[in-house]
């Protein structure tokens, strides 16, 4: 490689790494704002603002969904297996909404600690399987246990790390 080419290569690599560092620092500084939602642990620790529009996310707790017979009102608990968040909502839920499924709720945290959702979005995990397999797993007592175990592990890890402090939106 000629010295001139070598110099050019270093200039380019230098430029790219400097930009990478700049972008990295920016993303690091904004990390709380890039997170799409607060987890129940963060809300329980008081990191989320009250009565301002925020998003919260986690798993719909098993056996926590209560539907009103007369209206579209629904209440459920969102959990990260460390802390719980009570959510109430009035409207149509997405098809994938069910107990044990990940959700993101958009709305406002009330002063009493409950969450009034304006919108409920279902979160899908990265696992796909045919219905027969899911049924077999369920009969064997697994589904959606292995996903839950994973979520619980994440919750534990967050707890140990003291949870990154989420600033206001």
């Amino acid at each position: 490689m000629t010295p001139k080419r070598k110099q050019k290569l270093f200039v380019i690599l230098g430029l790219v790494s400097l930009t990478a560092i700049a972008v990295g620092l920016t993303l690091y500084a904004l990390r709380a704002n890039i997170n799409l939602f607060f987890s129940p642990v963060q809300i329980a620790q008081g990191n989320a603002p009250i009565e301002r529009q925020i998003r919260a996310g986690g798993m719909v707790k098993e056996g926590s969904v209560y539907r009103d017979r007369e209206s579209l009102d629904v209440e459920f608990t969102v959990t990260d297996y460390v802390d719980d968040l009570n959510v109430y909502y009035s409207g149509i839920l997405p098809d994938l909404f069910r107990e044990g499924q990940g959700v993101v709720v958009v709305g406002e945290l009330q002063a009493d600690g409950r969450f009034r959702a304006d919108k409920v979005l279902a979160r899908h995990d990265e696992n796909y399987m045919p219905p027969e397999v899911a049924q077999a797993l369920e009969e064997a007592g697994y589904s959606p246990a292995d996903f839950q175990a994973k979520a619980a592990k994440v919750g534990e890890r967050l707890e140990q790390q003291g949870v990154p402090h989420a600033s206001e939106y």
Partner: protein, 246 residues
């Protein structure tokens, strides 16, 4: 290695070798895409939760793979062009950009169509979706920047620098789902590690991914060849070639 790079200096050599390679990639692409589409749409089982809408994965994932790979290829080509002054690299980067932009659009569009039945929304400003939208703008920026100069050489250099700097977005796209809380789930299809789907769902996806890549290679060879003819139109060997065809 150096011998190969030196050979790449000759557009004529590349024009010859690509003519031989090209049909193989087209044939492979046609075979894989046909097999993958039929298998994925008709024979692969439906998902236990999403039902048939999960089949969008067979277009969405390969398109998203290609969108990112093409950008990385363009950045490598840009580096080769800037440092070693190999013109073929710049020609390849030029012709790859529109396909990359199209694949990014396909990934975003199919993702939006998929998001409506599964998530309950077609768009959310989460880290994965936003960084992918930035990739689309980067592609459009590179294409526009290249055309914005009167001299082709200045345009090529500006586009190469923008591509090399923009490649920083690629790891952000890839790891966004691990670094931040996002609506988008983590990767299902990974080259390394356990696949998060059974074989009968995974195999057609692999075939589709390989098919998309073959299509990309075939199309890039074809379009680079026409770019060579366009840029070298006044060279002796191109004129001889045209004479022969007459």
């Amino acid at each position: 290695m150096w011998a190969f790079i030196n050979k790449l200096r000759s557009p004529k050599w590349f024009y010859g070798i690509s003519a031989k390679l090209q049909p193989w990639f087209w044939a492979l692409a046609a075979l894989l895409l046909l097999t993958g589409t039929l298998w994925g749409l008709a024979f692969a089982p439906a998902d236990y939760q999403q039902g048939n809408s999960f089949r969008i994965i067979y277009v969405h994932v390969p398109a998203a793979f290609l969108a990112q790979s093409i950008f990385v290829s363009m950045a490598i080509a840009g580096l080769v062009f800037m440092v070693w002054k190999i013109k073929i690299a710049d020609m390849a980067a030029t012709v790859m950009a529109p396909l990359g932009a199209a694949m990014t659009f396909v990934a975003l569009f199919s993702g939006a169509v998929w998001g409506v039945p599964t998530w309950g929304t077609w768009w959310m400003w989460d880290a994965r979706l936003t960084s992918m939208l930035i990739l689309l703008f980067l592609y459009l920026g590179v294409i526009a920047l290249r055309g914005a100069f009167n001299s082709r050489d200045s345009g090529s250099r500006a586009a190469s620098v923008l591509t090399m700097v923009g490649v920083i977005n690629i790891p952000i796209i890839k790891y966004s789902v691990d670094w931040w809380y996002t609506l988008h789930q983590p990767a299902t299809f990974t080259i390394t590690g356990r696949a998060a789907m059974p074989m009968e769902m995974w195999a057609p996806l692999l075939i589709m991914v390989l098919g998309f890549y073959s299509f990309f290679v075939g199309l890039t060879l074809m379009r680079t060849r026409s770019e060579i003819l366009r840029r070298e139109a006044n060279k002796r060997w191109v004129r001889d070639l045209i004479e022969e065809l007459r």
